[in-house]
């Protein structure tokens, strides 16, 4: 076993919040760094300038370049404590949570969609949950425990998304989990003993036995038994029909995770070693560190998480600390960060241990830990080129190309007035399935057998009655369609009348249905695929797509035609505002009306640039061909799958793509700052501060001003273009 057993518990512990005094921690870490460097005879680089440092700090902590004002404010400040006060400000900002999300979404392989029913809804809830955890700065050990041990219904505990993401692949999931959090490369041992490490195939299966009990379930627990009991004695055909009804009813409740302690793991059929035979039952056991005791009948997965995050298991803290170190310094003290089996390969084992101890002493507070790292002497030094991660000497942070998310989020910074608060526009008719809220879930699943039987009978009757009652409306819709095919005009009023009938009828039906199904009527009953709702829904669909004017009426009972009430919608124009807008348009023309609307909306940069939202709020990952993907955003197939290599499509996107025109659009922040500058010298300052967080030096200023003086706008634009297309923009110094 290559375990490092540092007796962390015996060390004096210091707990600091992000606002507390961290002087002692910084000092200790500085001296650990200094002794690591001196033992390798490495001399630190000279100090970096304020402008290099402020750009680095924004990109590393908030995930974007500073705005021109933010950069100037820092550079011009004479305050002696300005570094730590900026670090604290950044750690407290909204932008920090977005950056944390993008970073961990890559590590945890978070996709917006996974195959299977409600896959999009489960992942959507999981993503929202993760965002909230980062906003709240949840301690690292608590976060990991919540992920690894999550059980239950996804609508109730969205963290089950972590495991459901790998549905059907329990062994892969286990390997990825220990690799991510413990730096243990145990996957090879799934098929054979590890070629270089101590892991045996037996070790692998013993570890896998901890999470093997976790099983994704199709319908809530116990429901099938209740249905069977409720339909007992009924004729076979009726029984089948009613069971189908119930199944469809519970469809939105799919995607839960339960732990079954009775589920046993066996050695595979081709097991070839002497320490076990194919088919042998495996007893859960950990390969290193303290024992994981789950007692009799206890939750194995809880014991597994406890072992994983235990302070005695020093790997856990070191892996997390090393990952966060890499985020700021560009290279891990140990590379790759997932291979702690090779801990002797670390740049400095003492430094690695010091980082782990610091993380524990800060009680896994990621914000406080980052604050200490950003305050170190090494972080204030000039960057150095990075040719090999393994032989990196740490004379300063490594020169890095920004991650795809940092490049994109920096573009957002150049375009939006307040880049961290812009949210995407979500359309009202979201096609994603919806997860029912936890209260509904509990109500639905707590139903007793007798009650279910009664409800089933009533539903059956209701289905028959409603099918008959719907017939006349169906005929009306058919006749409307007939008229439309014949090309007859003036049938809109008739369509509206039919829509009103359908809406009224369906409203009543849905209410009865919701009562019998014990669903909250607000949750979109019409979307449940059920014989009771299908008829109405089909007719509504026909009406809405052929007679768009009926949509507003249909919205009365059908949630899919209701306008979105969600946050941040860019199309939020109130009724009064709309009337005013129309009046201005009539009196002064469209341009004036648009200007009025823009002013009223404030905040975001208006219609034209609404796609520029920070990466954390876009689909995960962004679709193929998106700017983010071109710059190497992870496809989320594997952990840390992003890429920062230069490619021709990246360069083409910067030279000819639609991002640059957006920077020049009248609403863009960059453009407005440029236009507002009183003279060419101020223009030169404005664009340099915005793009590179510094003012130009004498030579650059001369070059740039010569072009800016031209009265041809294209020539002046060329300066902006040239700065965006000089690689220094893409790198973090």
């Amino acid at each position: 076993m290559k375990t490092i057993l540092v007796s962390l518990l015996l060390l004096p512990t210091f707990a600091f919040g992000a606002s507390g005094d961290i002087g002692a921690s910084v000092k200790r870490l500085d001296s650990a760094i200094a002794s690591a460097l001196s033992s390798k005879e490495v001399e630190m680089n000279p100090k970096a300038s304020d402008s290099v440092w402020v750009r680095r700090a924004y990109l590393d902590i908030v995930g974007r370049i500073p705005t021109a004002d933010e950069a100037a404010q820092y550079i011009d400040s004479k305050s002696p404590g300005k570094r730590d006060s900026l670090i604290r400000e950044l750690l407290d900002s909204d932008g920090r949570a977005s950056h944390d999300f993008s970073f961990w979404a890559d590590v945890l392989r978070v996709p917006s969609r996974v195959p299977g029913q409600n896959g999009g809804a489960v992942m959507g809830a999981y993503i929202d949950w993760l965002r909230e955890k980062f906003t709240l700065n949840t301690p690292y050990d608590e976060l990991v425990t919540s992920l690894v041990t999550a059980k239950g219904y996804a609508g109730e505990n969205p963290a089950v998304g972590f495991t459901l993401r790998d549905r059907g692949m329990p062994l892969d999931h286990m390997s990825a989990t220990v690799e991510t959090f413990l730096g243990t490369q145990i996957l090879c041992a799934q098929c054979h003993d590890h070629p270089f490490e101590d892991w045996t195939q037996q070790d692998f299966y013993k570890l896998a036995a901890f999470s093997h009990g976790m099983r994704s379930v199709r319908s809530p627990q116990g429901i099938n038994e209740k249905v069977r009991a409720a339909t007992k004695g009924m004729p076979k055909a009726k029984r089948r029909k009613l069971s189908r009804q119930v199944r469809s009813l519970f469809a939105p409740l799919k995607n839960a995770l339960v732990e079954e302690s009775s589920r046993n793991l066996k050695l595979p059929d081709d097991y070839q070693y002497d320490d076990g035979r194919p088919g042998d039952l495996i007893v859960a056991e950990v390969p290193f560190g303290p024992d994981a005791d789950y007692g009799k009948g206890g939750s194995k997965v809880d014991a597994y998480a406890e072992w994983m995050t235990s302070v005695e298991n020093s790997r856990f803290a070191m892996v997390g600390a090393n990952r966060m170190w890499k985020r700021l310094f560009g290279v891990g003290v140990l590379e790759p960060v997932t291979d702690f089996d090779q801990v002797d390969e670390a740049f400095s084992r003492e430094l690695l241990e010091a980082l782990g101890e610091l993380f524990v002493s800060l009680e896994y507070d990621m914000r406080a830990f980052t604050r200490v790292l950003a305050n170190t002497d090494l972080y204030s030094r000039q960057a150095m080129p990075l040719d090999s991660e393994v032989s990196y000497s740490f004379a300063g942070p490594a020169l890095r190309r920004m991650s795809a998310e940092q490049v994109w989020d920096s573009m957002v910074t150049l375009i939006q007035e307040d880049p961290d608060s812009v949210r995407p526009v979500t359309r009202g008719r979201g096609t994603r399935g919806k997860l029912l809220d936890s209260e509904t879930y509990r109500r639905m699943t707590s139903i007793d057998g007798e009650q279910m039987k009664a409800n089933l009978e009533q539903m059956d009757t209701l289905a028959k009655e409603s099918a008959a009652a719907l017939e006349p409306i169906r005929k009306s819709v058919e006749s409307l369609m007939e008229k439309k095919r014949e090309g007859r005009g003036g049938i809109d009023d008739e369509a509206k009348k039919v829509a009103r009938e359908l809406t009224e009828f369906s409203g009543e039906l849905f209410e009865k249905f919701a009562t019998l199904a014990m669903i909250d009527g607000e949750t979109g009953v019409d979307r449940i695929n059920n014989p009771l709702t299908n008829g109405s829904r089909q007719l509504a669909k026909t009406l809405a797509s052929n007679f768009p004017k009926t949509r507003r009426i249909l919205a009365g009972s059908f949630s899919r035609y209701q306008k979105n009430k969600g946050e941040g919608g860019g199309r939020k124009i109130g009724k009064a505002l709309r009337a005013e807008f129309r009046a201005i348009r009539k009196a002064k023309g469209k341009a004036a009306a648009d200007a009025f609307l823009k002013e009223k909306r404030g905040g975001d940069a208006g219609q034209a640039n609404r796609q520029f939202v920070r990466a954390a709020w876009l689909p995960q990952p962004a679709p193929e061909g998106h700017f983010l993907r071109t710059f190497g955003q992870s496809d989320r197939e594997a952990s840390m799958n992003g890429n920062t290599e230069a490619t021709v499509p990246q360069v083409l996107a910067l030279m000819n793509g639609d991002v640059f025109p957006s920077l020049l659009s009248a609403e863009a922040k960059m453009r407005r700052a440029f236009d507002a500058a009183p003279d060419v010298s101020a223009q030169a300052d404005a664009i340099y501060l915005a793009i590179l967080a510094r003012r130009p030096d004498a030579e650059e200023r001369a070059l740039v001003m010569e072009r800016l003086r031209s009265n041809r706008p294209k020539v002046a634009e060329g300066v902006l273009w040239a700065l965006m297309n000089s690689p220094q923009f893409l790198f973090i110094e």
Partner: protein
Amino acid sequence: MFQSAPTDRRRFLRQAAGSFLGVNFASQNIFAGSAIAPGRRKPKQVIYLFMAGGMSHIDTLNPRPDAPDEIRGKFAAIKTKADGVLLSETLPGLAEHTDKAVIFNSLTSTQGAHQQGQYYMQTNYTKRGTIAHPHLGAWHSRLSGKGNETLPGFVRINGGSSAPGGGFLPAKYAPLDIGKPEAGLENSAHYKGVGAPALDQNLALARRLDRKFRERYADRRVSAYTAMYDDAVKLMRSGDLEAFDLGKESEEIRERYGDDGFGQGCLLARRLTERGVRFVEVRLGGWDTHADNFERVTEKTATLDRAMSALIGDLASRGQLEDTMVVLASEFGRTPKINQNKGRDHYPKAYSAMIVGGGIKGGQVYGTTDSTGAEVEEDKLEVRSFNATVAYGMGADVDETIESPSRRPFTVANKGEAVTKLWS
């Protein structure tokens, strides 16, 4: 310096000559005709179809009709154009082309995880933290030179976000990535209102403004961006840029390849290789069928079979198949035994691949497994030797040593042995 296993005397001589005398013996092919150095053949174009996720060998290239139900699965074996060569019924289109193909049923890998397995298949080296190895496509452009002055040597379609690329080779050998083949090479037209002279002026300004930054950091990735700007402008002005435009193909042809990213990618691959692009990889993901294997394999093979048979047919009728080698490969196979979720799991021990065209003697099967597809019985082919075979088929000198920037010697074959007898 030389950390790899001892090289043989001949290789040592060649390296020594290369490094001490400044003479590159390798390219002069003075050892041609010997068994060890197969020598340089005319470089072929390569279209490499990579099935990411692990293609179930039993349900595609190596049907096992005599295996018990829980292994054989629901697909039957069908006879094909070549005598005695069977394929799964999931590949009816390819069954018409087996006379031009060699099917390899005895591949074996040591890598059972996706990322590591794909890396091994595509670079011929196992993944290490210490160095990035070049993809076979980058090797091909490096060893065989460009076939077209302005187009890249290596294009990758739907490649995934962190697949190996140029590795330690200079940036010009890295792949050009195409995400949506139907959109072609996006952003290749000048930004509105900026003509060629203005672009040149702007680029010159960008370079002047960037000079100090470049001087401050002697960094491979910084210089890579400089190289990319050169390549991109060359490409924008290339007369062959239309190669990327699928709109130049008839509707009938486009439909024949299939209306999906993979099918259109195969068509784009044909347009690129016929203009001299050395190596085009087209990737089809979604083969990781741990659950519901049979439904998903039905979907995947429909896409694959349609596109690949259209590609082979097209290349043959245009007289390009002799000079274009089409490879079908995956990182590993899938377990013979069907699991409780009606799926199959990762299986690197025995799996399959296929090579068509490029002068290979078709109508053959190389290597066999037992009747369950679990164990290799004859002609075990390690990944390195399969890749050496592909490299030999490319027309590259498989023994030519290339040094990494840290002066470690590498060869495309990585000590694998090419099965040269498959070529006439």
